[in-house]
């Protein structure tokens, strides 16, 4: 057990190190640097201005030296400093993290619940009108680009019906109590959450549908019926638990993808998350911010995969037994 844990920890560290080194190289070797962006924003520059910025950003040092310094700072828990925004990178990330966690967490839960429910219904009613309707919905969910879907939802629900806000995370200057403010944020969350979940709802529906269809024909299900158990109990206790295994595995992968996939949705809906922070950092060549986001999201993805493995072991005791 200890050996397994140690082995896993080493693998995690190696993954993190690779993420940092590879992304550092990719970003640094991309043409352009933050000094040229800042000079462009200033509308003018001179040699003294450029030189002072290069020195301050430590861009005058060899790249291996820059990488070593960055690794050393990450080990100390320091994700660097944004010279463009004049703030520690960690501060920039942490202040955006709650928004991203709210959006991606909500989308994760929504897609898991709705996808599982749709998939269960479709799997139990294969060939029926409901199943066929859900297959069409899945196809749309796969095919529609997120930015298009988001804009269409804004058009329908914000512009035409005026039921929901078009963008942002909260109403400017909102002064209600805690519950009212929570409701305000929730109203802003609906459209981006649906947009982000659409693809994954389609995915889980298909996977769950197939899985339910397979499990239904298993011998232990026939035994359960033969024993006289109710249909509801058979579906809820016996079928779902087994059919959910591929969905749980997929959920672990999705959780990581969601964090990256939120960039488009955050842009369309002006949601103040780390996806937009990363995109802006990329365009402005803010290496430190970009690397900081990569490090943090890598850690999150690794953590989510571990959690997914644990949940899978709980749901399927065979995994724990085989590991033992």
């Amino acid at each position: 057990m200890v050996k397994t844990g140690l082995g896993r920890a080493i693998k995690i560290l190696l993954v993190l190190l690779s993420v940092i080194v590879i992304n550092f190289a990719l970003v640094r070797f991309a043409p352009g640097d933050p000094v040229s962006v800042i000079a462009g924003e200033a509308g003018a520059s001179d040699a003294a201005f450029i030189a002072s910025l290069r020195e301050e950003f430590q861009l005058d040092k060899p790249i291996p030296v820059q990488l070593a310094a960055y690794l050393a700072s990450v080990v100390r828990g320091d994700l660097g400093y944004s010279y463009r925004q004049r703030r520690p990178v960690a501060d920039l990330i942490w202040e955006r993290m709650p928004a991203t966690l709210l959006l991606t967490g909500s989308a994760f839960v929504l897609s898991l619940l709705v996808g599982s429910a749709f998939g269960t219904f479709a799997g139990l009613n294969r060939g029926g009108w409901g199943d066929n309707a859900l297959l069409v919905v899945c196809l749309l969910g796969y095919a529609l680009p997120a930015f298009w879907l988001g804009l269409v939802l804004v058009l329908i629900f914000s512009v035409w019906l005026q039921w929901l806000p078009a963008f942002g995370m909260q109403t400017l200057g909102y002064t209600g109590g805690w519950w009212a403010q929570a409701g305000d944020v929730l109203s802003h969350l609906i459209l981006p959450c649906i947009t982000l979940s659409a693809y994954y709802i389609a995915l889980y529906t298909r996977v769950m549908r197939s899985s339910m269809a397979d499990v239904q024909t298993a011998d232990f299900i026939k035994t359960a019926y033969a024993k006289g158990l109710s249909r509801g109990r058979i579906i809820g206790v016996h079928m779902l638990r087994n059919a959910a295994l591929p969905v749980v595995t997929l959920a672990g992968v999705q959780a990581g993808q969601l964090i990256g996939g939120s960039i488009v949705v955050e842009t369309v809906f002006a949601w103040p998350g780390i996806g937009r922070l990363a995109l802006d950092a990329l365009l402005q060549r803010e290496y430190m911010v970009l690397l900081g986001v990569f490090v943090v999201t890598s850690i999150m993805v690794i953590a989510l995969n571990i959690i997914s493995d644990i949940i899978l072991a709980i749901v399927d005791p065979r995994i724990k037994r085989s590991a033992a």
Partner: protein
């Protein structure tokens, strides 16, 4: 449904959520009607609000309400009082005396004095603000004659001196906060302290910036607004929605894609003005690297401009938000000379010039090949690049477009790694401020953005720049700048395509947001909402 505790709780939660969410519409309306609040659309988010460190347009839009400079400028670029209530210039143009308002306080309550002006313009800004460093290099000495009088003595006449005191070019900073500190890392950069009509209340990164009224503002009964929100909206379609549904009251520059302008012009709900951009006066330009191949020959450069139908561009790509350019100086800039149509659209003439150069078409009809480094600043610039390629293709010049992103573009441009590119430059109200850096041979500096990237060198042009800037006689000076324009039109180191006409769009009922040559970058002290 079975009535039990679980179901009751679930039903109650659903009802509460629904009521809260759908009550929002009425709450939004109430907020929008709250008096004294203005919401301005902002994109992209400024990296900082400290105008000494960053002068991006979004930073100017926000910080123009927090900071001030000695002067501001009318629509004809004539100076008006800012922090200076009056000023005088000696006959020899070497001494400028500014008398400052006496009851001005910084947002932290400390008094504003002449020492702040001297510190800002002689120590702080030259260290961190490249435009200010160049402008204030003309100053030999700056003296506080008393707490509210500043005297500048110049090394030699600098006739544009009164044009440099707009808030982004020379923001006055508090000496008591910045003196003897590291300007770049001073904690006040995160919460700027100025003398302006509004103070920073809150900045929620990625969402909005909130300014509130400066209750100790030195002008009685001003500002009229209680607060201003700058809502950060990254998507262009969302910005249009925000304007249409009243979430924002004002947008400026090119925050709304110009493809929507015909629709907005027809709407009764908005007022649209092109005023307020006279100081910037951006000129869209096809820039040449005159070191590169045929571009070294001015006949080639002239031919390319003849081949491009700029009226078509103005009508169909910029949707009327542009005006024909007659030369390298914009029509709102001081000393502009109308020299008539600039190389009119005439593809036959273009072909004549190319034939004169000996550029005959090959089997594919191609006379020459040129690369165009596309400007990655949005759809309109992409379309402009495509149209340039199409137009030049019609006269046998094959254009290969190179696409890139902003960081790479700025780097390649500064390091001369291009043959042609598209760009636009602000004029800053005066040829000495906007043009010298682009066309004086002393400004040929590899790696420096905003320099003479074309590599253009003409001793006569250099002489005119150097002499005009010191010429006290207005008539002679005007003549010199006129001559400059004529030579630059003849030599055409860059091809001015059109004057960009930004639009400020305000919903009806919003008043006085455009009151000067810097438009929505101004302080909004008399802005109001009905």
């Amino acid at each position: 449904m079975t009535i039990n505790r679980r179901n009751l709780l679930l039903s109650g939660a659903a009802l509460t959520a629904g009521a809260t969410i759908f009550n929002l519409a009425s709450f939004n309306e109430a907020l929008a009607q709250a008096s004294g609040r203005l919401t301005v659309c902002l994109y992209p988010e400024p990296p900082s609000l400290m105008l000494g460190l960053t002068q991006t347009t979004p930073a100017q839009i926000v910080s123009g309400k927090i900071y001030q400079s000695l002067l501001t400028y009318d629509f004809d670029l004539s100076p008006r009082p800012g922090l200076a209530k009056e000023w005088s210039v000696s006959d020899d143009g070497l001494t400028y005396v500014f008398k400052l308002h006496e009851n001005v306080k910084w947002h932290d309550g400390k008094p504003f004095t002449a020492d702040d002006v001297i510190f800002s313009t002689q120590e702080c800004l030259p260290a961190i603000h490249s435009r200010a460093r160049a402008n204030f290099a003309y100053v030999e000495s700056a003296t506080a004659l008393d707490d509210h009088t500043v005297e500048y003595k110049l090394k030699r006449p600098f006739v544009a001196f009164l044009q440099i005191f707009e808030v982004a070019g020379a923001p006055i900073l508090p000496a008591h906060i910045y003196k003897d500190t590291d300007y770049r890392t001073n904690p006040a950069n995160e919460f700027p302290i100025g003398t302006g009509p509004f103070k920073l209340k809150e900045w929620r990164r990625g969402e909005y910036i909130h300014l509130v009224r400066n209750e100790d503002y030195y002008k009685e009964d001003l500002p009229l607004l209680n607060e201003i929100y700058f809502q950060i909206i990254p998507d262009s379609a969302s910005r249009l929605v925000a304007l249409q549904n009243g979430t924002v009251d004002v947008t400026g520059y090119d925050n709304i894609d110009y493809v929507f302008m015909p629709m907005l012009r027809q709407s009764d709900a908005f007022e649209i003005t092109q005023k307020g951009y006279e100081n910037a006066a951006p000129l869209a330009t096809l820039e040449y690297n005159t070191r590169s191949g045929h571009l070294a020959d001015r006949r080639f450069r002239q031919a390319l401009l003849h081949a491009i139908d700029r009226d078509f561009i103005i009508e169909n790509i910029w949707f009327g938000q542009a005006a024909p350019s007659t030369g390298p100086v914009a029509s709102s800039t001081i000393y502009y000379k109308d020299t008539g149509p600039l190389y009119p659209f005439d593809q036959e003439r273009a072909v004549e010039l190319l034939e004169e150069m000996g550029l005959k078409p090959d089997a594919n009809g191609v006379r020459a090949t040129v690369k165009l480094l596309a400007l990655p600043y949005g759809d309109m610039w992409t379309k402009l690049g495509e149209y340039v390629r199409q137009s030049l293709g019609q006269v046998g010049v094959d254009v290969q477009i190179e696409n890139t992103d902003p960081g790479n573009w700025a780097s390649r441009y500064s390091n001369w790694e291009f043959e042609m590119t598209l760009s636009f430059w602000y004029q800053y109200g005066h040829p000495a401020l906007g043009l010298t850096r682009l066309y004086h041979s002393a400004s040929i500096n590899k790696g420096i953005y905003g320099s003479n990237t074309a590599g253009y060198s003409n001793p006569e042009v250099d002489r005119l720049f150097d002499e005009a800037i010191q010429e006290i006689d207005v008539e002679k000076r005007t003549q010199m700048y006129g001559q400059l324009q004529e030579i630059l039109i003849e030599d055409l180191p860059n091809a001015p395509l059109f004057e960009i006409k930004y639009a400020t769009i305000m919903r009806k009922g919003v008043n006085n947001v455009v009151t000067s040559a810097i438009g929505i970058c101004e302080g909004f002290e008399t802005a109001s909402v009905d």
